[in-house]
């Protein structure tokens, strides 16, 4: 599914990713952990194609195709989804209108007709139930005045609607209380299939109690420095990151 090889990226001449390697296969869940400033969010943004970042070396392959030169919307059309750490507000644009536009733009890129309104409504109903979203919420302006939990749930709702191949969840757990965390995690678990993959970026082990990863990677100073199974996350929770840094020396 996703194959990242020797990825180097910088922002404003400052080098952040320094030779990152990662392979994610369909049906897998990967967790990326690491201390502040390790480059976790940069990795997510670079995969999604944010233009502020300059890729100086390396390859990002999605299903065998190098996507590192594609515009962000083209990557999205190819099935990349990023759940934002800080979702932006778009006043006056309802959640429904936004997701409708996103779906139809993606369909258009694939040469498909707009999704019929009836199907759209049916899908909205199903997915909002899945994520325990009150449908009144869907007519509100995108992220405007949303609580932290609502913003994140809205991200996962969009993911459910867009059915991406590769979903990257950038600190989706931050700002969530325990109930919201459970709902969001349940949603992600229900959306998981053998055909898609999930990369979970998190500081804390807490989320991984609900979304159980097949692999846990430690990102440090722009590189993945350690990989293990779910138990690695528990170990990190108990011992912090310092022991890994020491191992590296």
């Amino acid at each position: 599914m996703l194959k990242i090889n020797n990825l180097h990226a910088s922002i404003e001449e400052k080098s952040i990713l320094k030779g990152l390697n990662l392979e994610v296969k369909a049906g897998e869940v990967h967790a990326i952990m690491g201390p502040n400033g390790a480059g976790k969010s940069t990795m997510a943004n670079v995969i999604a194609g944010k233009e502020e970042y300059e890729v100086t070396d390396g390859v990002i392959e999605l299903n065998g195709e190098d996507i590192s030169e594609l515009a962000p919307e083209e990557r999205a059309h190819n099935g990349v989804f990023l759940s934002f750490q800080y979702p932006v507000e778009i006043p006056g644009v309802s959640v429904t209108n936004f997701i409708k536009t996103a779906i139809n733009e993606t369909r258009k890129a694939k040469g498909l007709e707009d999704m019929p309104a009836k199907d759209m409504l049916k899908m909205i109903r199903e997915k909002s139930e899945l994520l325990e979203i009150d449908r009144k919420f869907l007519s509100r302006s995108l992220n405007e005045g949303f609580s932290g939990g609502e913003k994140k749930r809205n991200e996962i709702f969009q993911m459910a609607m867009l059915e991406p191949k590769l979903a990257i969840l950038d600190e989706t757990d931050s700002g969530l209380d325990i109930d919201a965390l459970r709902i969001v995690a349940n949603g992600v678990n229900k959306l998981k299939s053998k055909d898609n993959a999930v990369v979970v970026i998190t500081h804390y082990q807490r989320l991984l109690d609900y979304i159980v990863p097949d692999f846990v990677h430690v990102l440090h100073d722009g590189k993945i420095v350690k990989t293990g199974d779910a138990s690695l996350a528990l170990e990190l929770e108990a011992k912090g990151y310092d022991w890994i840094k020491k191992e590296l020396v």
């Binding site: 990023l82 996103a102 733009e105 867009l162």
Partner: protein, 482 residues
Amino acid sequence: MSKYTEDDLELELKTKEYEYGFYTDIESETFAKGLNEDVVRAISKKKNEPEWMTEWRLEAFRVWEKMTEPDWANVKYPKPNFQEIAYYSAPKKKPKLNSLDEVDPDLLETFKKLGISIDEQKKLANVAVDIVMDSVSVATTFKKTLGEKGIIFMPISEAIQEHPELVKKYLGTVVPTTDNFYAALNSAVFSDGSFCYIPKGVKCPMELSTYFRINEGGTGQFERTLVVADKGSYVSYLEGCTAPQRDENQLHAAVVELIAMDDAEIKYSTVQNWFPGDENGKGGVFNFVTKRGLCETNAKISWTQVETGSAVTWKYPSCILKGNNSVGEFYSIAVTNHYQQADTGTKMIHLGKNTKSTIISKGISAGKSQNSYRGLVQINSRAENARNFSQCDSLLMGNACGAHTFPYIEVKNKSAQIEHEATTSKIGEDQLFYCNQRGIDTEKAIALIVNGFSKEVLNKLPMEFAVEAQKLLEISLEGSVG
């Protein structure tokens, strides 16, 4: 709004040139350039006007001659040479039409390009259309249906002939000939426009609609519109403008007067899309408009405008809230791109008790344009318990444009309640990236964000107009980012 699909939008966006920049070759009769009393008399004569009308025009001309062009607005442009303008241009073939078959085929073709299918509108939109093409109306539909209700809706030149008592009674009562430089000019030389009268207690059963166009190179167009809603009546009036592409500047100085008598309501909606000049600021229409409405007791006037065109816009649709409990509303979207300049807003003059006004202004600036809101809220000493709410929001794109707000508030009665809110925001890279990440390209993302920003005003427009307005917003901002 569901009729308009993304595919339509994409087609629109592909059109790089000004969409309606075409020119119809209809034989027309144009006066020589220049303005003096003889020209004013000639216009009046051409239109077979009665003596009182000729005198009215001449009086306006004499006032205008002594006036100087105002320069207080936040716009810069080369002052027009008023002796270099031809003041009358009428399509030569002016038939009395009973059906569309009799309309000049070239003209019908033009309407097709504009997306105005009269037939379709008859069937689908339930809109009676009085089309002003280069100063003289050439087609009027639905007259019969309206006639049954006693509603008069016709070119003002015809109204002068057929209903002189009404025109004489109301013309110039809200915007006097002496009001300002452009209003005086318009009063002297206005070519045509629309007249509308709704009798007592009648709710006009359909939206009344006029499409204005400037068609003859070098001729200014000076429309005059007069809408009179008698006691307890209701009318919704739509005005839309498109103009062909031109190299030289075209002057447009219209006057619109609305009179809402006791318990009457007038909704006046405008989508304005005059040629804005090209991306280097060359050409474009100068739009100096005086629009004002008078509200008697319990009456209500709503102005809704979507301004996307013109090189220079100078326009302040206003309400005089004369009667007790009368209500004035102003909802506006003004878009400027490239080198466009807009100085637009409203005046709410509270004279009566318990009068209420609402102002919602949305300014969108892109390119190197300058967009100013200028508004006056005036509460006079006898206006007990007057209330006003004003909200002025500006949205900026890029770093080279400007948004300005000039709110004037004059309160002479202590019981007044005035609220003013203003915001300025910018379309952020983060917003665009967020949309991009969801598969929405930047052009479409801007359209989405702008429509969201403008929603409160778009919602005030009648359905068919809202669709058109939405398209216009998108076209106008095409290519404004990256």
